[in-house]
Amino acid sequence: MGKLLEVNNLSISFTQYVQGLNRHDLKVISDLSIDIDESEIVAVLGSSGSGKSLLAHTILGILPYNAHVTGDVNFKGQILDQEKKEKIRGKEICLIPQSVNFLDPLMKVSQQAVGECKDDNERKEKEKRQREVFAKYGLDESVDDLYPFELSGGMARKVLLSTALLNDPDLLIADEPTPGLDAKSVEETIQDIRSLKEHGKGVLLITHEIDVALRTADRIAIFYSGYVIEINKVENFLNSENLLHPYTKALVDALPKNGFKLTEGVQPLEDVPGCPYYENCPIRLDKCQNNKPELIEHDGIMIRCFNFKETGSEEVVSEETGSEDVVSEEVVSEETGSEDVVSEEDNNEEEINDEA
């Protein structure tokens, strides 16, 4: 059984004109691979402007005309080309857009949710379904005849969510569904996304809020400067020591409730020859400056870093690189080893204090 959605080696660049007729290719996503199973929620986590929304727009085929895309998108084992994307979007794959500005300001919300219909029979059926879905999300009949400007932010979000679910899609793409919502509405959205999973749907959740990702997703992919640098199971995010990439660790430690730890450094503006995190990396090697690490599997975790060696199904790693990597791994494990000792000492001290 294949995956519900597979994205392989996707790269996106935009052609821009700078100063007259000089063209410039701006690379925004590089070598992105990700997959989603049925009944699975995968979160894509990254800073604003790192190109997360473009992934959603690629899957649905709504990128602007100057975008150049390489790599492929598979849905239920079939490669999606533009024609196919147009056929299944809104039916088998639906999008909750990032902004409530995606609603048509001149159209009543119920009409927008129903959308285009071939004949009266279809319209009646869809209207009935629309009423059901709206009711499920607590939008009563008076809401049907409102225009978007008459809705509060939370209601508008619910309209977007209901519209996306009206056609009972197999895959839902939720693009930043929560920022700017108060705690109660965030809670509701999280519940909605979870219930989709229970009904056997796949969900791609695009967000920059770690909390929301932690509470819904099965796996989390970390985006940095247009690259996926780590895909890890959600349990490992509870303790930053279980995470591999230094940026992922920094991200988790920077949460207010995890210590609000400061990490210096900003993303590079343009594509660099080596690892995108080279400039800020605490465990960088000499080769990281001019060589790009590939996304590899290490103990079931996908990681893009030279400090980790490929393991898993393909055990055959060439001898030379193998030995090099072993050395670097030993260094890492020694470091973590000594940290462990320190923390044990701390524990001992605490125990002593407790006894005292």
């Binding site: 402007g49 919502l181 991200l251 609000f260």
Partner: protein, 204 residues
């Protein structure tokens, strides 16, 4: 030390539906006060009133008991959630910054501002990079109070720490008060001296 005071503020966009009623709060220049509330409850409207963007309200906004002069540089500066919406898209970043003042190099370093960003257009930088400009722009030496309306909501956790650390460091050293508005209770717990609940302030 100075004191920014809002007294009995009431306001409505639509006569039938008042949004703020008899809100009073005060902020001293050595304080960081958090303000938390539901979406759509009127937090941003209050921010705009205190920073002088909305003038047809009832009530008083004063610094040390004196009405704030809205001519020239306003000592109460508002920083918005979406920096890209507060910058002229046809100005390069250097001009955007210079509209307010030319900050010294060490302050630029504190905020991690790279020199090659200055020659870029706003559309070429990410939200986190633009927000650094919009904060630095508000830190003109004449600024006495900063109202930060969800300034880190759209940023990743690492950038959020960087921006708040730099802003708080500068404000503590220069006796500038901060009113931090956010949904994120965890964040306000870490950065603020005290937290106010909008629901309790608003007498609707």
């Amino acid at each position: 030390m100075m004191k920014l005071k809002a007294e009995n503020i009431s306001f409505s966009y639509n006569k039938k539906r008042p949004i703020l009623k008899d809100i009073s709060l005060s902020l001293e220049s050595n304080q960081i006060i958090g303000l938390i509330g539901d979406s759509g409850s009127g937090k941003s409207t209050l921010c705009k009133i205190m920073a002088g963007y909305i003038t047809n309200f009832t009530g008083d906004v004063t610094i040390d008991g004196k009405e704030i002069s809205r001519n020239g540089f306003d000592p109460v500066q508002l920083i918005f959630q979406h920096p890209e919406k507060t910058m002229n898209p046809k100005w390069k970043m250097e001009k955007v910054l210079r509209e307010s003042w030319i900050p010294p190099q060490d302050l630029k370093d504190t905020f991690g501002l790279k020199d090659n960003w200055l020659t870029r257009w706003p559309s070429e930088l990410s939200g986190g990079e633009l927000q650094r400009f919009s904060i630095l722009r508000a830190l003109n030496p004449q600024t006495k109070f900063i109202i930060a309306d969800e300034i880190s909501t759209m940023l990743d956790a690492v950038t959020q720490v960087q921006i708040w650390e730099a802003l708080i460091k500068h404000c503590r050293a220069n006796d500038i008060g901060i009113l931090a508005v956010s949904h994120d209770k965890d964040l306000l717990d870490v950065i603020c001296d005290d937290i106010l609940y909008f629901k309790e302030l608003n007498h609707l």
